[in-house]
Symmetry: none
């Protein structure tokens, strides 16, 4: 009973172990990549010994999968909620969505997970499928529904839903990859702010959608 009401510190720690390991692993994986992160580092960062890590996760690969599963699903479902409650034009909603995604996901550490999965997909095919189903597809569906609703409302005209959804996502992904890959971090002096880039892209798309080229 006492342990239901007031668990000892030790016990509470124990229950938190997996979480602490997951968090340490997230940081390290995002920072250095999967292969370059040593199991011992993760353990050390979580304040436990190497052996303990393997007590909770049967292998480094499983640890990685757990990190992904833990960190990847949340942002999408939050987006869906806001869409449902949004007051305003569909154009505004679309812009808002793009900027908020960047602010709440793209610009955070968590976006490193996306980069990671995309990078390591061939090593973890099941993870790729998982990401596909749990993230990409829901996000695409959310996006498509916004577009379709905009069309129904007469706001958006003549567009290919699939293409346009991709056009919305492409710059986000581009920025995320830029942020996490030194190969893209164009060292040129005029590094533009991601927010501005997103905003401009959002404008570009909305303008394109609002205008019927066949007219």
């Amino acid at each position: 009973m006492s342990n239901l009401l007031a668990p000892q510190k030790r016990e509470r720690r124990k229950q938190h172990r997996p979480g602490e390991l997951l968090e340490a692993a997230l940081d390290l994986f995002v920072d250095k990549g999967f292969a370059a992160t040593r199991a011992e580092e993760v353990a050390a960062k979580a304040g436990v010994s190497k052996g303990t890590l393997f007590l909770y996760f049967p292998s480094k690969e499983e640890l990685f999968k757990a990190v992904v599963r833990e960190n990847v699903v949340k942002p999408v479902s939050e987006g869906a909620l806001e869409v449902a409650n949004f007051k305003g034009s569909h154009a505004q909603l679309l812009k808002y969505l793009m900027l908020e995604w960047w602010r709440r996901y793209g610009s955070t550490k968590a976006s490193g997970i996306s980069k990671l999965i995309i990078s390591e997909a061939h090593t973890f095919p099941d993870l790729a499928t998982f990401y596909q189903e749990e993230v990409i597809e829901p996000a695409m569906n959310l996006l498509k529904s916004v577009l379709e609703n905009g069309r129904k409302a007469g706001e958006f005209k003549k567009f290919n839903t699939e293409h346009t959804a991709l056009a919305v996502i492409a710059p986000m992904l581009f920025l995320i990859m830029s942020k996490h890959s030194s190969a893209l971090c164009h060292s040129g002096a005029s590094q533009p702010k991601p927010e501005d880039f997103i905003a401009q892209h959002a404008d570009l798309i909305v303008r394109g959608l609002s205008f019927d080229p066949s007219n």
Copy 2:
């Protein structure tokens, strides 16, 4: 005499070795990543022994650089040539460039190299720098010069060069990542053709550039 006209088998082999190794390396690197590809595998795939590989390339890293030079740098510089010789409006040139890049690079196996570098840049900083200098910067410069020339010709109006160049590249990169990462390969039924997506995006951008929003 015959050896003046036709090299001996050994000799003929020698001249083909680098190419065979490069091709094998391209396949393997794209398939499995840089780190996960063993030097011996490359040699085996090219039909030679491990030692022979190092006869032609001083290290795995140099082999990789050679692969990049052969498969990535070339298309970019070819692009530059065509830009110089292009007859037509700047809008047409920009569209042409985007579609040709896709056709000649994005849609080929070689584009896997871009995915790979972006993925592994963190673990191999030298390669990232090399890619930056040999690929990203020349490509960006080419793009910017097209945009600037379009502005000088009065064809393109009011745009941020850097942002716009990124906007041109972003969808290309998005498609390349999609193509090479199963995590993004939207298995949904209505898989759109990349060419169409590029074409539409090109239109979107050209329309945006031709139209002065402040008017």
Copy 3:
């Protein structure tokens, strides 16, 4: 409690590992040279696996340095201590030093290290420098200080410090090389005792130092 008084087997092992590895390494290095000794052999001789060796010593070179420190640097610094505490004439001290160095270093397995370094210095410049700094220079300085003090005390006359120090060291080194190179191990019947040779040489030198040739 018992673990306060007596460490577990594992623990006890751990404390002995470095010593066991050092001993195995000394044997092998002296026997086969640095380059020709494989890390795995050392581990095997110490009864552990290759990996364990690198758990205690970060590289083969560091292992070697540790062997030198343990087996060569120590005797030299012990010599320094005794010099400081010696009661007797400087002539006696010099003789004592030479004989003790032979007894405590030259005649032991450890002297093979000197032979080894001299032999392989060219191939491993780092080791040569290390030996220079940690062994040769301290030993020369010790020797020179004995000679200078003997001069100040009026016991030794008219001598070139550098030459004389070398003259003291030369026969030691000669014996060490003889002992460890079968090319020099004069298999002739009348193999003289090294101790006697050293003793005689010490006499020779002391006599030379005590006598002023210009008189």
Copy 4:
């Protein structure tokens, strides 16, 4: 017939090949040691291809042995001749011998061979025996005979022949090792001239021999 009287250049070259290879090998082995010298380097230095080297010497080890055999026997026999013809006191002869050995052997490239053999003796036991028998023993015998003759002539008094012979050789060997091992090349400012060191040592020994300590 014509090839007996006037061999073509080619032919003459051919006959010189082994010698040129031997010479190149000598330089390189002395300079970089046995292991660090690559067979290809030797071939290149001799102006032939890798394959040709193995046409004349079945292996790198045999090449090394040939180099030693070729370069090591001459100096000793020359010394013997001069001893037989020397006019002067035995003390003078002894000094002369030491200085001449240094001048004609110790100070030349050829002395690198001695260093090499001593260093690599354990890898080439038969070479060590060869060196023992062809160099060390003859040299020791020559030396001993000089000493014994000096005794018979009443010039040298009360000495242990074996020890004294070693005392004569020791500084030579010390200097040779110093010259060829960076581990002994005491970087201290006052690097004494080898000739002076030898001269002083010769004096020391002669003095010791001329003086009967029991008197």
